[in-house]
Symmetry: C2
Subunit: 405 residues, 2 copies
Amino acid sequence: MKSSIDILPDGSITTPKGFKTGAIYAGIKKKSKNNLDLTILYSDTPCVAAGIFTTNKFRAAPVYISEHNLGFPDNRAIVVNSGCANAGTGEAGMADAIEMVKTTAETLNMQPKDVLIASTGVIGHRLPMDKIKESIRLIGLSQRNGHDFARAIMTTDTRSKEIAVRVNIEGFQFYIAGAAKGAGMIHPNMATLLGFITTDASVSKDFLQFALKEAADISFNMITVDGDTSTNDSLFMLANGQAENPTFAGDTEYSLVFQQALNIVCQSLAKSVARDGEGAKRLIEIQVEGAASLEDARLIARAVAGSPLVKTAVHGADPNWGRILAAAGRSGADFDIERVDLYLGESRVLQKGQRTGADEKELSSWLKQVEVIIKLNLNLGEGKSTAWGCDLSAEYVKINADYTT
Amino acid sequence: MKSSIDILPDGSITTPKGFKTGAIYAGIKKKSKNNLDLTILYSDTPCVAAGIFTTNKFRAAPVYISEHNLGFPDNRAIVVNSGCANAGTGEAGMADAIEMVKTTAETLNMQPKDVLIASTGVIGHRLPMDKIKESIRLIGLSQRNGHDFARAIMTTDTRSKEIAVRVNIEGFQFYIAGAAKGAGMIHPNMATLLGFITTDASVSKDFLQFALKEAADISFNMITVDGDTSTNDSLFMLANGQAENPTFAGDTEYSLVFQQALNIVCQSLAKSVARDGEGAKRLIEIQVEGAASLEDARLIARAVAGSPLVKTAVHGADPNWGRILAAAGRSGADFDIERVDLYLGESRVLQKGQRTGADEKELSSWLKQVEVIIKLNLNLGEGKSTAWGCDLSAEYVKINADYTT
């Protein structure tokens, strides 16, 4: 079987056939980055849809509404606002989310059940519903507005995050694209993460949900910790089938290529989110090998990527590898210091737990790179995993010490 | 039964009868805070001893040696250095720790098994054994040196932490005293926490271990997370029996008073450690009530106290209560937003999940206090717990970005 996956230079959420977006400044944010805070993603034919939501027991109203509507066989649009999370707003907030979905459905001439919804921003404030309803009716949808969607969902993000890939498999072709927002410290106590994936491939609903979970587990879930989620975290995927491929249902080699392309899209977005952590200068990639199990590898990779002491050491270009080992040791995974090989980039710092005498000044200047790769081999088994994080800067504190006021 | 517990104004680790200390600058630290980095705590009669150690799977050499020596019926001295953790140093580091214990034992004319040991500082460096052995022999022990012990164990601490209490129970009297060091972010990825408790009470070895664990669970373990520990964390207690009380063995009302006094000592030290977190300006106390269980209350209290977003909000005097609820919601404990009452100090901010309309400007100026008390009532059950943390400042990042180099 011949297949290829190409990343498209100027791709956006509307690169797959049949998707349109539009965005507007509704006045939800006092000052709006990009002058956009409300957006709609729309497919001109019905979509099979999938979703993954926060595991936080304090969940925002839009999460409940989206989860409910995903129970229907198809959906067609997603309405998203930034600036207000509609969380901690009680029954009134639920009514607001429903109203937002209804207004979107009326405007687009569809049923409320066709519309999914996401919100991100400050907790505990009501949505300005008059402004939102008026603005929804004013949004103009077009295939050309793709980049606006990625911009409208930003909160403290400094850059919009989007990607599109084209996939060719033996004579047919489809696209997968996505946009995400993150910022915050991401791990361990993240700001809201929102992700939206579109594809014109034809995919069965069950396999779409399965494939999205698979992709999230090696991407978005490796920049956060399961259970360590915000009130609003949501990842959506819409598949409208306009590529007219034989439907992917997980039982063919074609489905594997689809999964592979989806993984690329999700990992690219997740890395963009990690790289753009509040105040961050460096992307940190933690590669764990030789762990006793896959679960152990994931525990260690996330513990190291999320350690404030590792993050500050990388920020200061301080090759303090003791902090890496201390984080691995407290992760809960099997760990034997006498077996550990540790690499900072290409330099082996520890071999079987013994210092190699790598030059600390060289390591320090290497740590000043924009992407820092730390590799740990536990030499205990076959478990492998990769996690991403960012350095922790004084800037992070400044951003978070003054968010609502 | 009549009893009283009094905190002594100028108490130190040598306030209980029969304890002596001495400290010296051995040159382990390049620049020494207080010009002290090596100290010995000594009892002039044998002690029953107890210890609680890090749950990190990467443990420093001194932890192994102390745990081993605590297996003997009694001990008499503890040797402690700051500036070097003797962690990640392999078999050579084990030999160094043993040598340090042997030198101390020879100097004090006792057996190596009588001596416990603790180290704190940078991971991955060998101890300068020549300097240490020479300095151990030069340390002069005296009851008057009590405060020097608390000073010599400091690393990035800005203040020494010590307390002593006098306990009277129906005609007899004893003392409990302690010293600790902490700093670091404490939770969630702490710098090394060392605690040392002395008493001249007579206590059975089993009950001493039990009582120390009880006290740690409502003090030191509520400023850290079980499993989220450094390589060297250690809490020691020595009881030399010189007060000649009827031995406390956990089966009398007297034992309860002993436990109560020990709790006061440990909570005071733990709060001092939290208050002195690196770069911290404010102590944050999280009081949880009405949780579904004790374990749930502990989970919530620690999740909120350790949340970087809560810590930065307090630092910025930003009454962003949504972050408090989001941290509680992700703690893993039962949580129903519709039942939560939340107080910032005396102000009720939420009643049964609904905003009370408390004035945000007043809340913000209240948050500028040195001690910030946040109270959450889950209204789900009887679980109660308190945790302590500190605000997260830009200063924290500066301290940790440049610790080894």
